[in-house]
Amino acid sequence: MTDSPRTFPVREDVERRLAKRYRAELRFRTAGLTAIGIAVAILCILIGSIASEGVPAFTAKELVLRVELDADRVDPEGDGSVASLRRGSYNRVLQDALREAFPGVTARNDLRTLFGLYTPLNATRLMDAVLDDPALVGNSYVFTMPLADDLDLYLKGRLVEDRTLPTAGRLTASTDGDIVSLRSTTADFTALAREIEQSMAAEARTLELRVEQVRLALDQVPAADAPRLQAEADRHAAAAVNLRQLARAPDGFLPLTGDVPSVIVESGGQAFRLTQLAVDGKSARGEVVLGSGLVENADDWTLYVVDTPESRRRVSDQLIIWTRSLVEREMIQTGFNTYLFANADSREPELAGIKGALYGSILTMIITMFLSVPIGVFTAVYLEEYAPKNRVTDFIEVNINNLAAVPSIVFGLLGLAVFINFFGLPRSAPLVGGLVLSLMTLPTVIIATRAALKAVPPSIRQAALGVGASKTQAVFHHVLPLAAPGILTGSIIGLAQALGETAPLLMIGMVAFIADAPSLGLAGFTEPATVMPVQIFLWSDGAERAFEARTAAAILILLALMIGFNAVAIYLRRRFERRW
């Protein structure tokens, strides 16, 4: 019974607790916001990483060659007939054009490397051009073809690390047999030599560390493995000693092996690949790749360094030099990658395109649309408007809900067992793919349609019935038109899902390599085909590095299609949505 200030500690206590509770509140709230942030960030990373990989694939580096279509090359029979033109050696025509562009390349091995600038499949494209227009025979013709995939990536800066170093002095080069001696008036090579020396030392250190590790591990491995490990350690140790020895440059020159950055000297249309760098930084030795090998006091020269060592990349120094020369001579142009859209699948990434998969997807979607939408809408109308409440309809309802959650791959198994093995429909065909996907999409369409039908107020039905319409008339003349926007939206979303589905189509054999696009007609439904997502799956484990970019580009196209679909759905919903 007092009004002493004893209440104050309680109040303080409460305030302290309140502060704590507010902190907890803030933490909780932040956790929620963070969760959304993480999800959005992942989405951005996903789209960003795929876009950064895929966008460069929409342009292609193309080689523009003036080819001479000599009659004796392309028309062996000399009668200009289709059969004769088909037997022409078009690859030789292309090879001749390249040899003309690089007259200095004569050795057999070098020529083989040179012809690696393009894939021989382009000869077929040249043949098609000639077959289209036989008047070309005997004339020269400007032929454009995609550069080999690795060089394409190189020019886009996605294959190697490279840089151009500034030079100050004047360059003089003289040949002595195969070896070129280069001399600059200032110490232009010094920085480079230091770098190479350091990288060699670093490499030696790594090797020595590895030797250490192996020696330590020697005690723990079973006796059977010991000799092998010992040999490995010895080999590494020897290599390290060798490297250290080379790095000391006993004869005043550092050797440039395939394991260190490549150095290329370019001067007025000539190019040298360096094999030795002098430690004084003023001179170097190398080999001529392009040109005569004679340079007098040139002040216009550059040092081009490819930091990725030659042994760790797929294009040789030679190809890089030739490609750079072609770029300089403006024989390589950058164009929109039409091959990606105009071609079907190919083993060569630069010629591989999505046309076949796109056609396959269109054919499959046509089947899916014409089956799943009517059947789905009919089912929903029956269940929502006609079905008596009894066990059978309950069973159907449960069934549909469960079907919606059945893994898509199980639908593929169904398609394989029923459509292909039982009905004997052709494998890999859009027809079967469409059937499987429509069964898969059916629950989505049904559920969306039922929701749309439920949203139509009962008063509409009652009014229709009240003026004497039959039940069917009430449903088909009044309820369905009002529910149509919702049905359309649901169907489009279901179809978009089907467009992105892969797993069930793998089961029915739509996963084969198919080099021809199916025809966009009735016959196309039973021809072997593949679809966009499956094409993405196929390319994603392509051996060539360039397929990665193609995969990402195909994904971007697929995503664009799906976003288009969904945008239409959203537009329809916004435009026709009606709230009762």
Partner: protein, 575 residues
């Protein structure tokens, strides 16, 4: 030309289809005008509106005929094949009989056959003995003898395979000789084709048929021979006949439907009721398709699984620790049965699902809570669709993302942390990416559930002075718990059935491991592995995919049923 023939026959069906369309339009018009003339233009006297009479005639003109054409489209090819093959066989009956006689008289063949049979008997006996020993208990167990028997069995199997090869070779020689004789005797080309077809092994038979089908339709075949061309001729003949038959029958059905229904039309005819009955029947039929799909799934999975379990015991499949179905390359190979213990697959599936849930449940749940309890309408309007984009991205894109970015990142990270030999394709990478895929699934389902908790509960809590977070953790969450559990269960079933992410990101090694940095395999991955590429349909290897499919189906079905139950129960509480 053969090509022209293919085109001709194609156009027969097209023409019939077009004719039917015209007949349907005509049917509608005739039905309508006949109804009008029946009451001399006073349409009020009709029981049904004139259009319904038209619909009635049109439906009966078109539907049965198109149904027939549909049947033809599906089964026509098979029918033609059957007819052609049986004709070829009949033609070749004579040569076949000759061959049987020759074989019966060929002492070499009989002897070889006898030897092979003996060896097969020995293998069977050894098999029985081994399985008896394997199941033996107590004193009867004798591992040494088992090893010895196994060695003997392998030897016997090899001998028996060799013997059967010899029998086959001898038979081939006789077949060729008889065939050559038949050619000199002037047998017809079709007979020879039938002979080749009858004597070819099963897979060659398929090739023979598909080649002759290609020749018949003027396409490029993989090879070409006199026999093939004769078979192609037979096929083309039957193809034409069946096509014409189908066309005539379809037209007749159309005409019949038209005639019968046209006669029924009168002023009293209840056309609308008839049409509506048909419409209702069509609606019912559509909803039956959903059931048929389920039935089809269950039956096909069950049927193939039973065939699989005939060669591999159920318990071995469900509880075996070794999964290596790839051994079965040839039917007569040693160790043909492979190892079909699915536990490594279940374990891999479980691990990836758990990782996915560890990612998806907290992020999804907290997103849902923030969106439904804290966010203003504007933020919600933007954030919700963004989350839903995650749900709309095809799974193959997630798989590529795992390959491109997540796998390498994990490898770099864990190598830097001192782990050795981290692979790009690991359970962790697949699980993480799958978790991301499932976030919107959990967040939108939980969002619905949380929104369904009555506002009065929240208001009561606020009135007691609770903060928002206290209200959420102590009032809203407990009330929403059943729904959230249901949502998580649905998400788990989704993760278990997900295919592309794991196929691309989780690797293929059937490792029984608890280390998420190793590559594991899942049920779905194995189904894909087993069924892509060339396969013979009867081997246990192929059939095991269906057994795995059955397990997957049952598993996801159970989870869905439980989840729906839980959610429904919860709903009843507040309605």
């Amino acid at each position: 030309m053969a090509f022209g023939l293919g085109l001709d026959c194609m156009s027969i069906i097209t023409i019939v289809a077009l004719a039917l369309l015209v007949m349907i339009a005509g049917g509608f018009y005739v039905g309508r005008s006949r109804a009008i003339t029946a009451v001399e233009g006073a349409t009020a006297g009709l029981h049904s509106l004139p259009n319904y009479h038209g619909y009635y005639v049109a439906i009966w003109t078109g539907v049965p005929a198109f149904f027939l054409l549909g049947l033809y489209a599906i089964f026509g090819g098979q029918l033609v094949d059957r007819l052609a093959v049986s004709e070829l066989r009949a033609q070749a009956a004579e040569i076949n009989r000759l061959l049987d006689d020759t074989l019966a008289a060929d002492t070499d063949f009989i002897e070889l056959n006898h030897a092979a049979e003996n060896l097969r008997g020995r293998v069977d006996a050894l098999n029985d003995e081994i399985s008896a020993l394997r199941n033996a208990r107590g004193d009867n167990r004798d591992p040494d003898r088992l090893t010895r028997l196994r060695a003997e069995q392998i030897e016997a199997l090899n001998l028996s395979t060799a013997a059967e090869d010899a029998v086959r070779a001898r038979r081939q020689a006789v077949v060729a000789a008889v065939g050559a004789d038949a050619v000199t005797d002037g047998a017809s080309e079709r007979a020879l084709a039938g002979y080749e077809l009858a004597q070819a092994p099963r897979e060659r038979r398929q090739l023979f048929l598909s080649d002759s089908r290609r020749i018949a339709s003027g396409e490029l075949a993989s090879r070409d021979s006199v026999a093939l061309r004769a078979a192609a001729q037979a096929i083309a003949g039957y193809d034409r006949n069946v096509k014409i038959g189908a066309a005539v029958l379809a037209l007749a059905l159309g005409a019949l439907g038209f005639g019968l229904t046209r006669a029924r039309i009168s002023s009293q005819f209840r056309a609308r009721n008839n049409v509506e009955r048909l419409v209702t029947a069509a609606l019912l039929l559509s909803s039956v398709i959903a059931i048929l799909t389920t039935v089809g799934i269950v039956l096909s999975l069950l049927f193939e699984s039973l065939r699989f379990f005939a060669s591999v015991p159920v318990l071995d499949f469900l509880f075996g620790l070794q999964w290596s179905p790839q051994i079965a390359i040839r039917a007569d190979q040693v160790g043909q049965s492979g190892a079909f213990g699915a536990v490594p697959l279940f374990a891999g599936t479980a691990m990836i699902t758990v990782i996915a849930m560890v990612v998806a449940v907290p992020i999804g749940l907290f997103s849902a809570i923030y969106l439904s309890e804290y966010a203003g309408p504007k933020f919600r309007q933007i954030a919700k669709p963004v989350l839903e984009i995650l749900a709309g991205i095809p799974t193959v894109v997630y798989g590529f993302f795992a390959l491109l970015a997540v796998g390498p990142a994990i490898r770099t990270l864990f190598t830097a942390l001192g782990f050795e030999s981290v692979v790009t394709q690991s359970a962790l990478s697949a699980g993480l990416v799958m978790g991301v895929m499932i976030i919107p699934f959990i967040s939108s389902l939980s969002d619905d559930v949380i929104n369904a908790v009555p506002q009065s509960l929240r208001d009561g809590s606020f009135a007691m002075g609770a903060t928002r977070s206290e209200t959420i953790t102590q009032i809203v969450m407990p009330a929403a718990l059943p729904g959230i559990v249901g949502a998580i269960l649905l998400a788990v079933s989704r993760a278990v059935g997900e295919t592309m992410i794991v196929v691309m990101a989780a690797g293929q090694g059937a490792n029984l491991t608890a280390n998420p940095l190793e590559s594991v395999t899942t049920i779905t991955v194995q189904i894909v592995m087993l069924l892509t590429g060339d396969q013979e349909f009867d081997s246990p290897k192929t059939l095991s995919a269906f057994a795995l499919g059955l397990v997957l189906f049952v598993l996801t079905l159970l989870m869905n049923v439980v989840a729906l139950r839980v959610v429904q129960k919860y709903r009843e509480k507040y309605d």
